[in-house]
């Protein structure tokens, strides 16, 4: 991994996260020093539709990465359906078909833990609306490893179980309203 590796946001969500996230990202200013990794629970065999929905966000390139795709800045990466998406310290993605975690593949926990394991230099984790607790443990471990962590305000989330599961474990750096997500992401925060 090179020193100029981009700031990596891992954003996890499930039920009720998709449309609000898409709308928020339309307001995200392009930044070649940053990439988003969207880990959204989705149905098997539903290729392409999600990727299409995130196209046309101004400036950003959108990719559903293949295995061993090098991680670059200026991208919105979307975890492919029915694979876990892992981040390797060498600076590329790996895919895996290991068993689902919390009935989910891709699993948010798996991607977030891989960031910690890869010791990615700058990263943040975000957990959105969702109906299960996938991501809570992964975000907590990102927090413990010193990464910035943010959870959508459960009152603001369509389905509050996922954010609440994280908040039951720890107090993240930010509890945000989805309308404020673009500003939060653009700051690329690093905890002290």
């Amino acid at each position: 991994m090179t020193p100029e590796a981009p700031y990596l946001w891992v954003i996890g969500g499930s039920a009720g996260s998709f449309t609000p996230l898409r709308e928020a990202l339309l307001k995200l200013p392009y930044d070649p020093d940053m990439s988003l990794v969207l880990c959204l629970h989705r149905l098997k065999n539903a290729r392409f539709q999600i990727t299409d929905a995130f196209l046309r966000i101004k400036g950003w390139k959108v990719s559903e990465p293949d295995d061993k795709t090098p991680i670059q800045g200026g991208y919105i990466y979307i975890a492919p359906a029915d694979y876990h998406l892992l981040i390797e310290r060498e600076g590329y993605f790996s895919l895996s078909v290991e068993e689902p975690v919390h009935f989910s593949r891709p699993s948010i926990d798996v991607t977030m833990l891989s960031v910690v394991q890869a010791v990615w230099p700058r990263a943040g984790g975000v957990l959105l609306s969702g109906a299960n607790k996938d991501g809570a443990q992964g975000l907590y471990q990102m927090y413990q490893a010193g990464y910035f962590t943010a959870v959508q305000d459960p009152a603001d989330a369509e389905v509050s179980h996922m954010p609440n599961s994280a908040l039951a474990l720890f107090e993240p750096h930010s509890i945000f309203l989805i309308a404020n997500l673009p500003d939060l992401l653009a700051r690329k925060p690093i905890p002290h």
Binding site: K68, L95, S107, V110
Partner: protein, 295 residues
């Protein structure tokens, strides 16, 4: 290996792990020692397996066998040779299904099998065949195309324990709905019951599908190809390798393909890291990752 072990293996393969995800703390030196043991005691070289998955796998195995850390796992692998078989079965990832990624199998049916209509002999290498669901997928398509009698399928895997499951062609009944849905997407005009029926809590496939199949233990990393082939399938195996190892294994496949032979990899795998593939393999269907060796 006892018959009992063979029967137990599918259950542990398919049961989702519902434990919490936690990071295994693995010191670099202990990981090195692990690779060393694997190589010098058991003859397996895992050094070029993609690291994130290796660490995840090892973490899962600690928890499952109640071991405190990597050191303990290393000790057990050193002292208990019989544990290795269990370990290997846990370490390798066998998740597969009948016609996983239906659109890829549709492409194989429509774009690849017609190429073999005049071929007298169709030798197939199914590398990383695991528990055999995709071997059956291919056998069904060959049968439907009237090509099966000309086919000789070599299904290989690194793990003898998973390969022991494949020849039975029996799977837990809970997979029936998914397998049937996939089947119907690939072969909409063929009834699923033509090839599979229920028996107790199992889904049983027609044993004739395996008449021309040989199951063999083969290590993609260290073993050379044992023949030349008209068709090579290797799906969702390369994802566990580093780019360097992917390059070597793909070059191995290229050497093992006859001119005009076809390579099918996983739909999210790529030839990106293999320079030689750019020169020798032409896409039949880029999206579904089907390639043909230049004549």
């Amino acid at each position: 290996m006892s018959g009992g072990l063979i029967c137990e293996a599918p259950a542990c393969n398919f049961t989702p792990l519902m434990q919490e995800e936690v990071l295994p703390e693995i010191a670099e030196a202990d990981l090195e020692a692990f690779f060393q043991i694997m190589h010098s005691v058991y003859g397996y070289d895992f050094r070029e397996y993609a690291r994130a998955s290796v660490l995840r796998r090892l973490g899962t195995i600690f928890k499952k066998y109640g071991l405190p850390d990597m050191k303990a796992l290393n000790q057990r692998l050193l002292k208990q040779k019989e544990f290795f078989e269990t370990f290997l079965n846990e370490f390798r990832i066998g998740a597969t299904e009948l016609f996983r990624d239906p659109s890829a199998w549709v492409a194989l049916r429509k774009q690849v099998l017609p190429l073999f209509m005049t071929t007298t002999q169709i030798r197939v290498w199914h590398a990383g065949a695991s528990t055999g669901e995709e071997v059956l997928s291919l056998a069904i398509l060959l049968t439907e195309a009237g090509l099966y009698s000309r086919a000789q399928i070599y299904a290989t895997d690194i793990d003898p324990k998973t390969l022991a499951i494949a020849p039975r062609a029996r799977y837990p009944l809970r997979h029936k709905r998914l397998y049937m849905e996939n089947f119907q997407q690939v072969l909409p005009d063929v009834p699923f019951s033509k090839y599979a029926h229920e028996e107790g809590n199992e889904l049983v496939f027609d044993p004739r599908l395996l008449e021309n199949v040989r199951f063999l233990k083969h290590n993609l990393v260290s073993d050379e190809p044992f023949s030349r082939f008209e068709l090579i399938l290797c799906r969702n195996v390369l994802i566990y390798f580093t780019p360097e190892l992917q390059d070597r294994v793909i070059r191995k496949f290229i050497r093992a393909l006859v001119p005009g032979g076809v390579l099918m990899i996983g739909t999210k795998e790529s030839l990106f890291w293999c320079k030689e593939a750019e020169k020798t393999l032409v896409p039949i269907n880029n999206l579904e990752r089907l390639y043909r060796r230049q004549v």
